[in-house]
Structures are given as C-alpha cells and as structure tokens.
C-alpha cells in the first residue's frame, strides 16, 4: 500500500468536488494533458495579485522588490526541485514546447549546419519533432529516429548503431505521454556523450511524476512545464548547463534580457535573464514555486509509488475487458498512463460516452501522430493518473467502458 493520504490530498483540489452535471461527480483521468491545481497554488497566485503585484527587476519601490523576491525565489526552489547546480541555469519559458524551441533557435542555429545529424525517437510528442522539421527545412540538418519496439520501449541497440553516425544532438522524451514508457535517460545521455553529442530531454511527463536530478542524469538541456505538475499554465523551464547557455546567442530580444542598449547595438544580460525578454509570467512563476513546494512537502517518491499502484491496478482491470487493447510496456516500466483502444468503437465515441458519467479521458493521437501510425492506429483513448487518483475512479472507468460496449453491442 502507498503511504499517501489521498483523501487529504483530494481536499486540496477544489475542482475534484465539482459535478460535471447534476448528480454526476467529475472523475478526472486526464492529468497527462494537464494536472489539476491545489488551493495552495491558486492562493499563492491570488496573494501575489492582491498584495505584491508590480513589475520585477527594475523598480526600487516596495512592491517591485517584493515581486522580484517572489519571482526569483520560485526559481531557486524549482532549481532545487530538479537539483540544478545553480538557479542561473533555470530559464523561465512559457512551457516545454517553448523550451525546446529555445534550444532549436538559439543553440542549434549557432551549432548545426547542413548534413549534421539530430537523433530523435519514434515516441516523441509533436513539440520535439516539429522544431527539428523546421530546422531541417531551413538548414538541411538530418534527422533519424530511435525505433520503438512492439512492447513500447526504445530499441537501444538500434540507438547504438545510430550513434556511429556521430550525431550532434540527441533529443528525446524522458517519459512518453502515450505509452507511459519511462526511458533510461541516464544511459541514453551517457551513450550520447560518449559519441560526442549534446542532449536535450523532454521532461514534460517525467518531472511531475518522478524524482528528477538533472546533474545525476548529466543532461545538457532539460525541459518541463508547470501545468502538468500542479502549477499554472503559461510557465515552463529550460534547464541548461551554464557553459552551454553562456555560449548561446539570445533567443528573443527586448527588455530585461540586456545589460546595455545603444541605438545601434546591445549587450546581452547574464544568465538566466539573457533568455527572458519582456515582462514574464510573474504570477505563474510564483504559482510554479508553490507547486514544487506542494509536491516536495508530499514527497516525489511517495507520489511515484502511489501512481505506480494505481497504474498497475488500472492495467490489470482494463486487460480483463474483452476488446480492450493496451499500448505501452508493463506497469514496472511506465508512469501513470493507460492508452488503449476498444474494438469496434472509435476513441472519440469512447471518450464521449464516458463523459456522460463525468469521466474525463483523452481521445485522439495525443500530439504523437507518428507513434500512432507506427502502431497502425489513428487514435487511442487515454486515461492518466496523478497523486489524487483513486482505485474507485479506476473502477468507474471500467464500469463506463462496459457501458460503451453495451451501447455499441
């Protein structure tokens, strides 16, 4: 049994008490898309707007100073949460997608030329595909992909063969948003470094659910979003080793990213501000800080253990339903995601009928169209779990699926 007090945790999430419609409670099984937010995060942002709202860094008045301290304090705690060596290596962005684009625009455009190889994987989210497609069109870089095996794992032997072609960059997801696969990030990075490549990790799904240590992984770049880990939308992080970030040209130009501006020239600010042009999402950064405080107080190891227990239970239950096909590896190799198809029923119809009972699951290709093509299916339904998910909710999902089957008989 997990030692998480889920009942108490659920009290922190006001939205879990609401009804989808009269008499039908919301069963939220879509945390992989975005997590719900605890009252502690909502209040931190409200407090900022009620008490401390001012623009940061430039003002000398009380409110500006307070806002700056809150904004930078959040950065310190987020840096600690992923064990960055220094908070200057933690850049605020809008989300994981923008973090990856920052690397593609700044580092890659300064370091990659026609013919250079970038290795991705077949299980990437569109956010770690399209920026590289764009660079391919612009620069003529080459792309190749670590294959996904039938059971939803990365084919590491094929990866080793790809590394013989001396890639400049290996960019991969730490945890698949469809299969749930937790990839061996440390090993992938070690092998990439041995082949002379830089690494970028899409941590959108891993940081919310696992204890992540960017130094232990030796990641060069690591990207994640607040909104999937109890924080607000509109704020994310690019972690980068300072030696790399220092050498990179700025991304967006404007206020706050400069040391000095003349009519015809500028000098860029030091890290992390060099990459943070314009007034940032201040309240959201503060909310992000409150989210990592919240998760830290509960303990990431406990959260991971709870999710594992729920996932194992869900996979066992779903497997029993005739016509259900699950995608991805067994529970011990994956996070809290169950993507499946139900024979004869399109995932959209599954999701719509489940919604009748307040059950929120995702249907579609989950921004991973190439992965679905690989498995020969246009779409899946996806239930996903977080620290507030319960076995009762899994039972309701299973019951709902039997209802879908009955309807389509």
């Amino acid at each position: 049994m997990s030692s998480l007090n889920v009942e108490q945790i659920r009290n922190d999430f006001p939205i879990l008490e609401r009804e989808a419609r009269k008499g039908v409670r919301v069963i939220y099984l879509d945390s992989t898309a975005t997590s719900q937010k605890p009252v502690q995060v909502i209040e931190a942002m409200n407090d900022y707007y009620r008490r401390s709202n001012a623009n940061i860094h430039r003002g000398v008045h009380t409110l500006a100073e307070e806002a700056t301290i809150l904004y930078e304090g959040a950065r310190e705690r987020i840096a600690k949460f992923v064990n960055a060596a220094h908070s200057r290596e933690v850049i605020y962005t809008r989300n994981t997608t923008e973090s990856i684009n920052l690397v593609a625009y700044s580092w890659a455009r300064a370091n990659l030329k026609a013919g250079d190889l970038v290795i991705l994987t077949e299980m990437e989210h569109h956010s770690n595909l399209v920026p590289w497609h764009m660079l391919q069109m612009e620069r003529g870089i080459e792309l190749d992909f670590i294959p996904v095996t039938e059971d939803g794992l990365l084919d590491l032997d094929a990866y080793k063969t790809l590394l013989d072609r001396r890639p400049k960059l290996v960019s991969f997801t730490h945890m698949s948003n469809v299969l749930g696969t937790i990839n061996p990030a440390g090993e992938i990075i070690r092998l990439a470094h041995a082949a002379g490549a830089i690494t970028l990790v899409d941590g959108a799904q891993s940081v919310p659910h696992l204890s992540v240590d960017v130094q232990a992984l030796d990641a060069d770049f690591y990207a994640f979003s607040a909104h999937k880990m109890c924080g607000p939308t509109g704020i994310g992080i690019l972690y980068g080793k300072s030696a790399l970030l220092d050498a990179m040209p700025p991304f967006l130009g404007g206020g706050d990213m400069i040391k000095e501006v003349k009519l015809r020239s500028f000098r860029a600010n030091s890290l992390p501000h060099k990459f943070e042009a314009g007034t940032p999402a201040i309240a959201e950064a503060i909310g992000f800080g409150a989210a990592v405080d919240y998760l830290t107080a509960i303990g990431m190891d406990k959260i991971a253990a709870h999710e594992h227990e729920i996932t194992e239970y869900a996979l066992d239950q779903l497997e029993e339903i005739p016509g259900v096909k699950l995608f991805g590896p067994a529970a011990d190799k994956k996070g809290g995601v169950a993507a499946f198809t139900l024979e004869g029923v399109h995932p959209h119809d599954v999701a719509q009928i489940l919604d009748q009972d307040g059950i929120a699951v995702r249907a579609g290709h989950h921004c991973a169209q190439p992965l679905h093509e690989k498995f020969g299916i246009p779409a899946t339904s996806r239930a996903s779990f977080y620290l507030y998910s319960t076995k009762d909710e899994v039972d309701l999902l299973v019951k709902g699926l039997y209802k879908v089957k009955e309807m389509f008989g």
Binding site: V345, H346, D349, Q352, G364, H365, P378, A379, M407
Partner: protein, 131 residues
Amino acid sequence: MDDLYREVIIEHYKNPSHRGKLDPHDFSFADNNPLCGDHIQIDLRVDITGVVTEAMFDGHGCAISQASADLLMESIIGKPLEEVKKLNKQDVLDMLGIDLGPVRLKCALLSLKVLKAGAYGLGEASDDLVE
C-alpha cells in the same frame, strides 16, 4: 447525450450501406480531420446530365463521422452535382437529427467538407465550405 448515439447513428456506423470504393469513378476526393486524424475518401459516379448515380465513402473515424458520411452518400444519389455543392451544415445536422457541440461538429461535417472540396475541384477541404 444518449441522443448523440441515436439508434440510427449506431446503425449507420456499424452497417453502412455506402461504404467502399467505386472503380471506375468520375470523381474521387479524400481528406483528413487534422484534429483527430479521421480520414474520409468519397468516390462518385455522375451521369451525362450531371446527376450523381452512385456514391461511396471509405476511411476511418468515430461513429458520428462515419454515420454522417453514410447518410450523406444516401442523400446525394439521384441529385444533380450542382445541388450537392449547395449542401450545408444544417443539412447534415438534419440528417443526423441531433445537435452537436463545436468539437463533434467537425466529426459530423468532415464528409461534407470532402464532398464539396471535390465537387468544386479544390485541393483541400476547408471549414469555410460547410459554414
């Protein structure tokens, strides 16, 4: 809600009467719903006076999109192509006999978009065609 899965829709989804391909055909059009990856191809035979004599659809998608495609094929057989071009959103909703929210509306209208893009000889099916 149960309305959304009226018997007629489930029936047309499970046992469509116009599913398949026509070879030879006079027109063939295909496109995807970029939101969900649904794919529909429509083949038509048109006689010398411009009247649709046979219509078939193929592809994959949810119950709403497949049932509406089947109903649409049924409705255009015997109609002049010029009349087919004038079909709109409400015509499809009337065939289905349901109201739909913005997301599922896209599913229901995919086949009409494909049909009209083909009838007008356009490269791709845009939303404007069914407004």
